[in-house]
């Protein structure tokens, strides 16, 4: 399997490449009023609107910096009722991929009920990398908020 690596501060995180539709450079996003701080804005993906989540804000509590390597990862977010939604994830230093097998991951040993999206830890070349479980990334009420409203609107 292949992991797309991104950085939040000094920590490295990995996301399954199978779930990623495409990586696009950072563009100007449409504004969203009265949304949580980690909602970065709306993205026009080939004619349809996709919400963009600031993962750096979610992980570190700071907005993502405007770097050349700051990019938007467009993913198919698996809904709870088996449907999938296009979602943009804003992340810094999206520069490399790591090929690994699922057995390489180790559990962290520490339960994190507030952050269920943090998966196992991979040691690669002496540096640690944490896997992000995409399906757990958004809390259910947020999923409801994002996708249901879109559904109603659509």
């Amino acid at each position: 399997m292949l992991l797309v690596v991104f950085h939040a501060g000094e920590e490295r995180f990995g996301l399954d490449a199978g779930q990623i539709i495409e990586i696009v450079p950072l563009v100007r996003l449409g504004p969203v009023q009265h949304a949580p701080a980690w909602v970065a804005g709306l993205f026009n993906y080939r004619g349809s609107v996709a919400p963009v989540i600031d993962v750096i804000m979610m992980l570190k509590g700071e907005p993502a910096r405007n770097l050349l390597s700051t990019r938007i990862l467009l993913v198919n977010y698996p809904g709870r009722r088996g449907e999938s939604h296009v979602l943009g994830l804003l992340a810094e230093r999206v520069l490399e991929t790591i090929a690994c097998s699922p057995d390489d991951f180790q559990t962290s040993g520490i339960a994190t009920p507030d952050a269920p999206y943090l998966g196992g830890v991979l040691v690669d070349g002496g540096r640690m990398l944490r896997r992000i479980t995409l399906a757990e990334l958004l809390p259910p009420e947020v999923q409801e908020l994002l996708f249901n409203s879109r559904g109603r609107a659509g």
Binding site: E22, V24, L95, A99
Partner: protein
């Protein structure tokens, strides 16, 4: 004249001036006395005239009576003889009177002859009377009447002559003038007319021509009566206005006048009836006429007597006035004389005191002068002279002035004494000072010789300095040459600097070109970086797509990895270039800044060199000027050498002068000694004055 007047004493001058006043007063007095005397003589003359007229009146009365007695039909020899006797006596009395005062009233023979009135003389009258008396008894009545009338006319003429001769007609007072009018003119005329009427009636008897009576009656009634009455009334009225009221006139005259008037009125009335009525008896008129004639005679006599009283009164008044005037003049003379005496004594006596005091002052005895002055002027001593209010009397003022003078003189003398002492002390001090001065002059002589030596040294120094200045001049000339050489070098430096500045400007331009090139490079690098980034993204997406392709995409995945590695290397190279470029850029910037600083400095240096060039030019000018200035200094030094020789000369003169001043000082000492002697002499002189010790 002036000298003579100056030599006279004060009292003599006063006497002279009073004499000058007395002389005109005496002349005036003579005039006044002669005026009074003239008036008195005038009145006296009138009195004489009046007395004569009284005698003449008596004579005319007696003559008329004699004529009537002669003409009477029954002669009374007794009465006739008595009348003749009385006439003789009256004529004798008249002759005596004429003897006494005839010349005065101009009825003496000489004056009558002069006036061609010899027939009026008393001698002629006596002659007439003798003829009449011897032939009277034998005469015809008419002849006798004519002779009597001639005598009466003579008497009338005499009366008139006396009236004129004794100035009675010129009488100055109205009362007496009116009385004279009555006594000399009116009453004699009336009596004459009455007498004539009586004569007519007596000679004519009853066959008298009555028509001749009428004019007499008219004249007597209408002229004589009125004239006599009015004149007497006027005399009585005017009496109080001249020399006082005469009581006898006021008492005696009015009854007599009234009697006469009533008698005249009755007789004129009778005369009228006699004239107009042929039946009237002329004999009845005779007693009336006689009564009237008698009354007229009484009035005449009384009038003349009262006239004399009035004239006497006037004389007495004039005498009184004369006496008063004389006594007043005498009194004034006596008073003025007393005043002259008093004033002259009042002046001469104090003056003698003052003269004595002045003599004392001259003798130097001030104490005696003061005491003498005190004794003379009471309360005018010098001690209280200032305290008293100044008197208006000049003598008092003189005393005060003398007293003040003595006081001032005393103070002056004491001041002189003090001053003499002070001068004495001062002259001693002067002598001491002169001695000091002598020493000082000696020191001055020594100092002068020192100055002489010093100026000689100065002269030497000045000539040395002159030589030195010559050397300085040559050195300055060399320095000027050197400086002009330096100027050329500096000009070269300036041009080099200019070249340097230009080169620096070129360097700056080159650096700016490098800078723009680096900017272009930076743009290229950013483009490369963007391409690498895109390549990286592309490789990522390719890897994702390869993953999605599964095992079919494994080769593609390797390609994607290679592409990403190339992109990474490109990015790394770009980063390196970028770092190098930024380093270079900073170096270029530094270089630009350095070049700019360098250009600034070069510019400043150029300016400074220009400044230095100017300064060197100035120095060159100064150095060139230095030559003439040195020459001036050299000349000044020569002048100094001359001046110091002159100073030496002057110092020699000064030394001679010091010798002279030493001689002068010796003279001065002698003079100071003389001054001392003089002061002692003056003190001795002042000591001669007896001064009151006032301390």
């Amino acid at each position: 004249m002036k000298n003579f007047f100056r030599k006279l004493s004060l009292s003599q001058k006063l006497l002279l001036s009073s004499l000058a006043f007395v002389l005109p007063i005496a002349v005036l007095l003579v005039f006044v006395v002669s005026g009074f005397q003239h008036n008195i003589n005038f009145a006296q003359k009138e009195i004489y005239g009046s007395i004569l007229i009284r005698r003449l009146a008596e004579l005319s009365e007696l003559t008329a009576r004699h004529q009537r007695l002669l003409a009477a039909p029954n002669r009374e020899p007794g009465r006739l003889a008595a009348t003749e006797k009385a006439l003789d006596a009256a004529l004798e009395a008249l002759a005596a009177e004429v003897e006494r005062s005839g010349a005065l009233v101009q009825v003496d023979a000489a004056s009558l002859k002069l006036a061609e009135l010899e027939f009026l003389s008393p001698a002629a009258l006596v002659e007439d009377w003798r003829n009449l008396k011897s032939q009277g008894a034998a005469m015809e009545p008419m002849e006798s009447a004519l002779a009597h009338t001639a005598m009466l006319d003579t008497l009338q003429g005499l009366i008139k002559r006396i009236g004129e001769g004794s100035n009675m007609v010129l009488d100055p007072s109205l009362d007496s003038s009116y009385l004279i009018d009555v006594a000399v003119a009116a009453l004699p005329a009336a009596q004459g007319r009455l007498c004539e009427v009586l004569q007519l009636l007596q000679t004519g008897g009853s066959s008298v021509d009555r028509s001749r009576l009428l004019p007499f009656a008219v004249i007597l009634r209408d002229i004589d009566r009125g004239t006599i009455k009015d004149s007497l009334a006027a005399a009585l009225r005017e009496n109080k206005n001249f020399f006082g009221v005469s009581p006898s006139l006021q008492e005696n005259l009015p009854p007599l006048a009234a009697q006469y008037e009533s008698a005249l009125r009755i007789s004129t009335n009778a005369l009228f009836s006699l004239a107009q009525n042929s039946a009237a008896d002329p004999a009845a008129f005779m007693p009336l006429g006689k009564t009237t004639s008698a009354a007229g005679a009484r009035l005449w006599q009384a009038t003349l007597a009262e006239l004399e009283v009035l004239l006497q009164k006037r004389i007495a008044a004039f005498r009184r006035q004369l006496l008063a005037a004389l006594s007043l003049c005498l009194l004034a003379l006596v008073i003025s004389g007393a005043c002259v005496l008093f004033i002259s004594r009042g002046i001469t006596k104090p003056l003698s005191h003052v003269i004595a005091a002045a003599g004392d002052i001259a003798a130097g005895n001030l104490c005696r002068a003061r005491s003498g002055l005190c004794a003379a002027g009471d309360g005018l001593c010098a001690g209280d002279a200032g305290g008293q209010p100044s008197s208006r009397n000049e003598i008092d003022q003189l005393f005060q002035a003398i007293a003040a003078m003595i006081e001032k003189l005393e103070s002056l003398l004491s001041q002189v004494q003090k001053s003499g002492l002070q001068v004495n002390v001062s002259s001693t001090e002067i002598a001491a000072s002169v001695r000091d001065l002598q020493a000082t002059v000696a020191e001055q002589a020594a100092a002068t010789s020192q100055v002489n030596a010093t100026s000689r040294g100065m002269s030497h120094t000045a000539s040395d300095l002159d030589e030195t200045m010559g050397m300085v001049t040559s050195i300055a000339r060399d320095a000027a040459d050197l400086a002009s050489g330096g100027m050329e070098n500096i000009a070269q430096i300036t041009s080099s600097m200019q070249c340097l500045v230009e080169a620096a400007g070129q360097i700056g331009a080159t650096l700016a070109a490098i800078r723009s090139s680096t900017q272009t490079i930076t743009q290229v690098i950013s483009t490369i970086t963007a391409i690498a980034n895109r390549t990286n993204l592309l490789s990522l997406n390719a890897a994702i797509e390869a993953e999605k392709a599964g095992q079919y995409g494994a080769g593609f995945s390797v390609v994607a990895r290679e592409i990403r590695r190339l992109a990474d290397q490109t990015a790394m190279a770009a980063l390196d270039i970028d770092a190098m470029i930024s380093t270079m850029e900073s170096s270029v910037q530094q270089g630009v800044a350095d070049v700019e600083t360098y250009i600034d400095r070069a510019r400043t240096g150029s300016q400074k060199i220009t400044q230095i060039s100017r300064d060197v030019t100035t120095i060159l000018g100064y150095t060139r000027d230095l030559g003439p200035q040195c020459a001036q200094v050299s000349r000044g030094m020569q002048t100094l050498a001359q001046s110091s020789s002159q100073i030496m000369l002057a110092m020699e003169q000064l030394s001679q002068t010091a010798v002279h001043s030493r001689d002068s000082i010796i003279e001065f000492m002698k003079v100071a000694d003389q001054l001392n002697d003089a002061v002692q002499g003056m003190q001795a002189e002042v000591a001669r004055f007896c001064l009151e010790t006032r301390e």
